[in-house]
Amino acid sequence: MELGKIKQRQAQGEEEINNKVKKLKFFYSVMFSVVFFSLFKLQIFDHHFYREKMERQIFKKVIVKAERGKIYDRNGKILAMDVPYYSLYLDFWKIRDYEKNHPGYWKFLRKRVSEILNIPEEILERKAKKSSYPLIKKELTIEEYKRLKPFRGKGVVCEENFKRVYPYGKLACHVIGFSGTERKGLEGAEYYYDWILKPSDGISVILKDGMGRVIPSLEKEIVHPRKGKDIFLTIDLNIQNIVEEEIEKAWKELKPKSISVIVMEKSGEILALANRPNYDPNNPGDYPAGFRRNRAVTDIFEPGSIFKIVTIAAAIEENIVSPLQRFYCERGKWFIRSHYLHDTHKFEDLTVEEILIKSSNIGTVKIALKLGKELLYRYCEEFGFGQFTGIDLPGEVRGILREPEKWSGYSIVAIPIGQEIGVTAIQAIRAMGVIVNDGYLPAPHILKEIHSQDGKIIPYKNIKSRKVISKKTCRILSQILEKVVSPEGTAPLAYISGYHVGGKTGTAQKVVNGRYSKDKVVASFVGYIYNRNSPKIVIMVKVDEPKKLFYGGLVAAPIFRNIAWRTMYYLEAPPDENLERLKLVLRGK
């Protein structure tokens, strides 16, 4: 009986326990289900949300700076390049952390930094009070960087950056230009070709360890940094140097307001371009804005006698005059359209050829009157005046050329001799280029080719030039222009034996208070040089307000001559003896 009761109780107890276990199982199942469901939700549904949150906490996006493209001259000499440098910052969050385990660390660091950089400790202390991440020094020297290296990661941060360096300083400064602190081109080729040179910075995600060091294995590159493309200019650094030397000599001797010189190959490739005043692109801020102006493309001037080439070329091309046709030059003084027109010599009868050689104003105007204003205007346009040359440099102006409807009664007298018209030096050299380029208008440009990082070379696409005058007219004009530099012409100082040298002088009086000044002039010479050993080179020299001498033949022609023969020397094109003999035979000597 007793045993039966005990068994019954036991069975009851087991049942109770079983029930409790079942309840417990159910409870735990529910709990685990909840946990499992939560985990499932976290891992599957909310995965992206939490991952982003985690990444934001432990990863850091950093910008990886890329190099700006280099600028080379036509022979591969570096004209502009990016040079890396380090700037020193102090990270006071880290210094304070470090100070907890190493008391006196800041004092020690301050002393060392002050010793290495030669900065008084008080300045460091002052900077530390102002900011938690102060800039201590912008450009560390290599020596300083090496000495600071042991402190990196312990509150010393060396941030990498790039600075633009122009190794040749002022040389070709107006062509190369410069870029600003934001690494954006601001002048010259740097500005014009900024879209090619511009790098594209990359973005990396980094994870730092407890020491603040980057864990490289976990570094992720989101955007790959791309270096800017390199450009090769048409500029020849050696010719540029010749020009700079000659221009400097003239700058000191003549003390003018400004000088511009352009050396161009007949197709339009600019071999050298220089202006005075100039500046150092490494420190452009040290110079006034006027020094940074590329006067060869931005400044307009009345061309004066050099414009007579256009008038005579038009008349010969239209068969209105022949080179040996004679014109009476009124003995140096002619009353025309209510004005007196003067020549410097009392010329009587001059042939068309002589009119250009001796630069007779009266003769030129008489030819222009035969030509008529419509044709004269058409040829001014054909030679590219009043239009952009399209040179790949910023700030080019189109000059001044009024339409014939807007001409005054006197314009037909003034324009043929280069007055009432505004041109730039680049327009003048382009017009002379027509004569050596067999009548085709050259397209002045400074870009030779683009080199991309994958080794692809993209050459400059030359614009198809238009024909302005016939080859025959070019030949006639060349013969005349070569006599301009002979002893009977206005520029014998431009003569170089053994070469085909020709050109035209200009001495344009400047307008001061509405009147033509007697002592302020723009003296210019535009000419060419070549022989069978050399390419055809065109040179434009413009001297604004020379103080010592006055005439283009005295001021600009010698500059032309020196640049021309030195360029020929550099191009290894020696003088041609036979050519000289031939010239003497042609002159009947």
């Binding site: 570096i78 190794p167 040749y168 040389l171």
Partner: protein
């Protein structure tokens, strides 16, 4: 299920083994990463030195610097032989003249 329970120690050993391998590989990867970073820093430093030296070298080669150094050391740059341009002087007109006298060329006005 029973087989699984019987061989649990084998599976756990395998798990521990693979986990150890994983940890070891991760550690070596991290250490290679650090070494790489160190080398990368060294490369950057060398590039910095190289580029700075290159720009300094180019600056020294520039004509203005050359001239400066020549004058500093009392040396003369050899000028190329002056070829043959003719200096024409007209006695009567005297080319080296001042404004308005002995005119050599017509002014435009």
């Amino acid at each position: 299920m029973r087989i699984f329970i019987k061989r649990w120690h084998i599976y756990i050993t395998l798990c521990v083994f693979f986990l150890t391998v994983y940890v070891l590989i991760s550690i070596s990867l991290f250490s290679i990463g650090y070494k790489l970073k160190e080398l990368e820093d060294k490369y950057k430093e060398l590039t910095l030195i190289n580029k700075n030296k290159q720009s300094e070298f180019l600056k020294l080669l520039s004509p203005s610097k050359m001239k400066e150094m020549m004058s500093k050391y009392n040396m003369e740059l050899k000028k190329p032989e002056e070829w043959r341009y003719v200096e024409v002087f007209k006695e009567k007109e005297g080319f080296i003249s001042g404004i308005g006298e002995n005119k050599a060329e017509a002014s435009t006005r």
